[in-house]
C-alpha cells in the first residue's frame, strides 16, 4: 500500500518535471566562467528581465567550449572574451556581428613570499620570463578558455615557446579558473587570473596580486548573436534585444555599476570600435 | 473452460530423464489409471519426485514420451501438485489460495468463499492473514495442499505431503486425501512411509535407482512381493 502511494508520488513528480519548465520567453547565452562566477550576470539579468520580460539562461563555460556551443547551435548568444576566436567564428558564418561590450583585466597572482621576485612589477612579460628562468611553479588552465589563450599569447610575446620549453614547473590542469586558483592556493604557485574571479574568490590562502596594470593584461569581451541562417532555432529577436541592451547607455552603466567590495570589475567600452 | 476429455490415463512410454551425465529416471514405462490412489514408494533418491514432476508436465523426458489421455503436451489445467518443498508466494495464506483460484479463472465473487472453505479444510482458518512464508513447515505443506485443491484438479500429485507433520496433522491430511479420492479425483502420491502407503494405497509403484521395480495392487504388493528389492524394503531393511 505504502509503496504504491510512494510510486504515485514519484510518478506525479515526473509528470510535473515535464511541464514545470516550459518557458518560452527566454534565451540561452553561452558565456565564460569569469562573468558568471564574478556575479556580473546576477547583477545584470534581473534589470534586463524587468525591462523586457526575457529570461536569460547562462551556461558558463570556457571560451573555447562556449564558442563550440554556439557553433553547434545550442545557444542563442555568445558572450566571451577571445577576440581572435570570435572573429574566426564570425568569418565561418556562425555569428552575425560582433559587438565589443566591456573589458576587464588579468592579474598575475602568486604566493606572498614571491619566490620569483616580481612583486609590484608592471611588466607582465618580464615576470613571465622570470618564472621560466627560475623554474617557479605556475598553474595553467590548459582548457582553451579565453584566459588560457591570453596566457599562451603572453608566453609568445615573452619569446618563450611554452609547448617545447615547459618543464615540471609548468602545470596544466585542464580546468576552470576556480580550480586553477584552488590549485595555486594549495601549492603556492603562480597563476594568471581575471580580476573579477580573483576578487570574488573565497579561498585565496596565501595568494596575493604580484603583477597588474600592464596594458597587455587587458581582456576584451564581445557579444554575438548566433547566426539564425545556420541555426533556425536561434531566438533572434530576444537575443538581439539582449545584445542591444548590453551596448545601450543603460546596459553600459549597469556594467560600470557592478562592484565587489567597492571595486569596479568591468569597464564598458561598447563605443570603442577597435575593441 | 475445461478440456472435455480427461488427462487420464497418464502413460509413460520408455521415459528417461537425465540431468547432464546423471540418469534420474531410466526407461520407465508406466500407466496411471483412474481409480484408487496410486502410491509411489522407494528410498530417498530413487526418483519419486522426478517421476511426479514428469507426470505433472514440469519435467520433459530426455527420451521416450508421456501422454495424458492419449495426447502430448497437455497444459496442466486439470492437474495439480503439492511439491515436496512447496514454494510459498510472498503473500498471506489466503492470498496464496486466491492466486491459484485466479490462475484457474474462478470468478471473483466465488473466490472468498472458496478460500474460507479450503483454509478450513486444511485447518488453517485462523492463519488466513499470516504471511505464507512465516508459517511453519507443516502449515506450509497444508497450505500447498489447499492451493492445489483450489485448482479443482482431476488428478492430484502429492510429494511426501506428510513428511514434516506430527501424527495428528498427518492423520488430518490422510483424511483429506481419502475424501478427495472418494470424490473421484485421482491421487498419485509419493511417500517413503510404508505405514502410510498401506493406509492409502489402491495400488503401488515401487521405484529404485530410477527404475520401476514392481507395480500392482497394494494387497498383492505387501503380501506377496515379487522382487528382492521389494521384500527388503517392506521388511524395513535398508535398501541401498
Amino acid at each position: 500500500m505504502f509503496t504504491r502511494r510512494l510510486l504515485m508520488a514519484i510518478a506525479v513528480s515526473a509528470v510535473f518535471a515535464g511541464s514545470a519548465f516550459a518557458q518560452d520567453k527566454s534565451i540561452l547565452v553561452a558565456s565564460t566562467t569569469s562573468t558568471q562566477d564574478s556575479g556580473l550576470f546576477g547583477h545584470l539579468l534581473p534589470m534586463f528581465k524587468a525591462k523586457t520580460g526575457i529570461d536569460v539562461k547562462v551556461v558558463a563555460q570556457g571560451t573555447g567550449q562556449a564558442i563550440d556551443t554556439g557553433r553547434r547551435g545550442d545557444a542563442d548568444v555568445l558572450f566571451v572574451h577571445a577576440k581572435a576566436a570570435e572573429e574566426k567564428f564570425l568569418s565561418e558564418g556562425f555569428g552575425v556581428k560582433r559587438y565589443p561590450v566591456m573589458y576587464n583585466d588579468f592579474v598575475l597572482v602568486g604566493p606572498k613570499s614571491d619566490p620569483a621576485g616580481i612583486k609590484g612589477s608592471k611588466d607582465i612579460v618580464a615576470a613571465f620570463k622570470a618564472l621560466k628562468e627560475k623554474g617557479i611553479d605556475f598553474i595553467s588552465r590548459g582548457d582553451k578558455s579565453g584566459t588560457h589563450q591570453a596566457e599562451l599569447n603572453l608566453w609568445k610575446v615573452a619569446g618563450i615557446d611554452i609547448a617545447t620549453d615547459k618543464g615540471p614547473w609548468y602545470k596544466e590542469i585542464g580546468q576552470g579558473m576556480g580550480a586553477a586558483l584552488n590549485t595555486a592556493a594549495a601549492s603556492n604557485a603562480y597563476v594568471l587570473t581575471d580580476r573579477a574571479t580573483w576578487l570574488s574568490f573565497k579561498n585565496k590562502g596565501d595568494l596575493v596580486i604580484e603583477v597588474e596594470g600592464d596594458k597587455r593584461l587587458f581582456n576584451q569581451y564581445g557579444v554575438m548573436l548566433v547566426n539564425p541562417a545556420k541555426h533556425p532555432n536561434v531566438k533572434k529577436e530576444f537575443g538581439q534585444q539582449f545584445i542591444d541592451w548590453l551596448v545601450s547607455t543603460e546596459g553600459q552603466k549597469a556594467i560600470a555599476d557592478f562592484k565587489i567590495n567597492g571595486e569596479q570589475l568591468f569597464y564598458p567600452n561598447a563605443s570603442d570600435p577597435g575593441a | 473452460m475445461r478440456a472435455p476429455t480427461s488427462d487420464l490415463p497418464i502413460r509413460f512410454e520408455n521415459v528417461t530423464v537425465a540431468a547432464g551425465a546423471v540418469t534420474i529416471l531410466d526407461g520407465i514405462s508406466l500407466t496411471l489409471n483412474p481409480g484408487t490412489p496410486t502410491i509411489l514408494i522407494g528410498p530417498n533418491g530413487s526418483g519419486k519426485s522426478t517421476l511426479l514432476r514428469t507426470a505433472m508436465g514440469l519435467v520433459r523426458p530426455s527420451q521416450g514420451r508421456v501422454t495424458w489421455g492419449g495426447r502430448e503436451d497437455v497444459p496442466p489445467t486439470r492437474r495439480a501438485i503439492v511439491l515436496q518443498r512447496p514454494a510459498m508466494l510472498r503473500r498471506s495464506a489466503s492470498a496464496n489460495i486466491r492466486y491459484a483460484l485466479r490462475a484457474s479463472d474462478v470468478a471473483r465473487t466465488e473466490q472468498q468463499s472458496r478460500i474460507d472453505e479450503l483454509l478450513a479444510l486444511v485447518g488453517l482458518g485462523q492463519l488466513a492473514d499470516r504471511p505464507a512464508r512465516r508459517l511453519s513447515g507443516g502449515e506450509q505443506q497444508r497450505l500447498a495442499l489447499a492451493r492445489a485443491l483450489a485448482r479443482d484438479p482431476a488428478i492430484l500429485f502429492l510429494d511426501e505431503p506428510t513428511a514434516s507433520l506430527d501424527p495428528a496433522a498427518t492423520k488430518a491430511i490422510e483424511d483429506i486425501v481419502h475424501a478427495v479420492s472418494q470424490r473421484g479425483i485421482k491421487i498419485v502420491m509419493a511417500t517413503h512411509d510404508l505405514g502410510e502407503a498401506r493406509r492409502l494405497a489402491g495400488d503401488i509403484v515401487m521405484l529404485h535407482r530410477g527404475r520401476v521395480i514392481e507395480t500392482g495392487p497394494a494387497a498383492a504388493f505387501f503380501n506377496t512381493p515379487q522382487t528382492g528389492e521389494a521384500r527388503t524394503f517392506i521388511a524395513g531393511e535398508l535398501l541401498v
Partner: protein
C-alpha cells in the same frame, strides 16, 4: 552572496533559491529513477526469464554498464541532444529534461541488472509452482515483479543514490544554469570552483541528509510492507 551562512541554515530558513535547487535535484533524480525503473525492471525481468543465444554476454555487458562513467554518458547525451546532433530538433539540451534523460541512461542499467538478479533467483524458486498453475508468460513476469517488490525497492534506491550523487553527466547536458538547471551537485561543483568551500561543504551535507532521508523512508516502507506481506 551567502558566503558566510551555511547551506543548512539557508535550507532551514527556507531560502527560496536554495530550496529551488534542492527541489530540482529531487525532481530530476526521482524522475530519472522512475523512467529507469519503467525501462530497467521489465528489461531485467525479461532477461531473467528468456533464454536466448548470447544471453550470458548480455548479462556481462549489463553488469558492466552499472559502472558507466557519468561524464561519458553526459557527453553521449550531449552529442545526441545538441542542435547539431540527431535529436537536436527536440531542443532539449540545457534543460532539466536533458538531465533526466542523462540520469535515466545512467540509472537504467543499474536497475535492470539488479532486477535481473533478483527475478532470476525468485524464478528458480517459483518456476515449478507457476508452471503447475499454468500461469502464462505475462502473469509470470507480473507475479515475479510483484513478489520481488521489496528487493526491487533496494534496486531503485541504488539507482537513486547514483543519480543524486552524480555531477558529471548533468553538468554537461544541463549547463548548470542558475535557477533553471542548477542542482545540488552542480552547485557544489560551482561553489568549489569559486573557492567558497564552506558553502560547498554545507550543500554537500544537505545532499547527504536528503539521500539518507530518502533511504530511511524507503526502508521504513519496505519493513512495513514486508511485515504485511512476508
Amino acid at each position: 552572496m551567502p558566503g558566510d551562512v551555511s547551506a543548512l541554515q539557508l535550507v532551514l530558513t527556507g531560502d527560496p533559491a536554495l530550496l529551488a535547487i534542492v527541489r530540482l535535484s529531487l525532481i530530476v533524480s526521482l524522475s530519472a529513477v522512475v523512467l529507469a525503473a519503467l525501462i530497467g525492471i521489465p528489461f531485467g525481468a525479461a532477461l531473467a526469464l528468456i533464454q536466448f543465444p548470447g544471453r550470458q554476454a548480455v548479462i556481462v555487458v549489463l553488469n558492466a554498464l552499472m559502472g558507466l562513467p557519468p561524464v561519458v554518458v553526459g557527453l553521449a547525451v550531449f552529442l545526441a541532444l545538441s542542435r547539431a546532433g540527431p535529436l537536436g530538433s527536440w531542443g532539449l539540451l540545457f534543460t532539466p529534461k536533458a538531465m533526466i534523460i542523462a540520469q535515466t541512461v545512467l540509472v537504467a542499467p543499474i536497475i535492470a541488472a539488479l532486477t535481473r538478479q533478483t527475478i532470476e533467483d525468485l524464478w528458480l524458486e517459483y518456476r515449478d509452482e507457476l508452471t503447475a498453475m499454468n500461469v502464462g508468460p505475462v502473469g509470470r513476469v507480473a507475479t515475479l515483479i510483484w513478489d520481488a517488490r521489496f528487493s526491487l525497492v533496494t534496486a531503485l534506491l541504488a539507482g537513486f543514490g547514483r543519480a543524486a550523487a552524480e555531477v558529471g553527466a548533468i553538468i554537461i547536458v544541463g549547463g548548470n544554469i542558475d535557477g533553471f538547471t542548477r542542482t545540488m551537485t552542480t552547485a557544489i561543483a560551482l561553489e568549489t570552483s569559486k573557492g567558497d568551500l564552506p558553502l560547498a561543504v554545507g550543500l554537500g551535507m544537505v545532499l547527504i541528509v536528503i539521500v539518507i532521508a530518502v533511504n530511511a523512508l524507503a526502508w521504513t516502507a519496505r519493513r512495513a510492507g514486508e511485515r504485511m506481506a512476508g
